[in-house]
């Protein structure tokens, strides 16, 4: 799975897809995940990073992460290459 490299994400969580003009809002955790995905980080790295920063249980994070990725897929912001 890869996130589109040209996706723009602001600090406030505003996402702009320059390929089709779609825009979305996410919270700061979502914005952090997208930034980490853009850096090419693995799920393990992202889980570690977010768990430290936001004091979240790994099992809770994994479930929320799956939901979030599913939403990104629904909006064509990631592909499965």
């Amino acid at each position: 799975m890869k996130i589109h490299s040209n996706l723009a994400v602001s600090d406030s969580g505003f996402i702009f897809n320059p390929s089709n003009g779609d825009s979305f809002s996410t919270n700061v955790v979502g914005a952090d995940i997208i930034r980490l995905l853009k850096l090419g980080k693995s799920l393990t790295d992202i889980k570690k990073d977010i768990s430290v920063k936001y004091d979240v249980e790994p099992t809770v994070f994994e479930k929320d992460y799956e939901d979030f990725i599913s939403q990104l897929q629904d909006h064509f912001l990631v592909n499965n290459d």
Binding site: N6, A8, F16, P18, S19, N20, G21
Partner: protein
Amino acid sequence: MIKSAKRKITVAVTGLNAVDSPGPGVAVIRGIRDCEDFDVRIIGLSYESLEPGIYMEGIADKVYQIPYPAAGTETLLSRIEYIHAIEKIDVIIPNFDAELHNFIKISPLLKEFGIATFLPTNEQFESRDKVNLFKFGEKHGFLIPKDKTIYDLSELPAVAKDFGYPLVVKGKYYEATVAYTLEQAQKAFHKLNAKWGLPIIVQEFISGTEVNIAALGDGEGNTISAVPMRKLFITDKGKAWAGITLEEQSLIDLAEKFISATKWKGGFEIEIMRTQDGKPYIMEVNPRFPAWIYLTVGAGQNQPASLVKLALGEKVEPYTTYAVGKLFIRYAWDLITDVSEFQKISAFGEL
């Protein structure tokens, strides 16, 4: 005394109807005025007395009414000759589909007067006509929705049976309606026939995201500029009220392929429907700048000014970059003027 080194030019522009379904004239003028290479005098050419661009501050320096396209080329030429005798026009930029045929026809005569244009040839103009677009796509390898040109209401049921519903019923020059039943299609046929005449084009409905490209070809197959935009807010007439520039190389490639295939001379707009699996169907090619052309200026590619330079025979280097994520948002504004102004343009055809 300091003399301006800028070239003094006079440019005449049509399409001053900055209404809810706007002509491109005001946006074209703004682009030309933004260009620091010219010291420009703008002559507005209007058809009706209430075109807002006639009265807007800082748009046209002088406005003349010109005859409707139906009056023919001789009447048009005679009117332009009159205006040219006073204004010494360097370049004319027509901005309406319906007037382009006449302007293309008289462009060699305008050249003799010393007036430059930068228009497609008649062959180029006809090739992208709604009536010929499907064949054009087949010839050059573009995806175009299937269509059928009809001249009589009785032809509609058979076409509808072939395409299925929904389908799109389009006027010869402007407007399109999506019809979900035969009754809706018939109603659209009557409405479009009454407004724009025959033929009517019935087109296969393509579902997807609408994306438009404003582009400028140099007439030798080179792309001077191409800027893709997605409409963010659409009026009930299908016009963009807000839009945003996109970054999508496949759209630039499509515009370049079109220019290369046609050797398009001048500005134009490609209307594309991108399906969910990414296929770009060309819905229409408008043979002039779109009303949102000022967005290209805001994004860093001044297409109207580049067209003026090309018309004047100057070498224009192709643009290579533009700002992605630039938005335009149109707005309504009540302009206050005096009846004396309205009286001048109505009675004398000049303001």
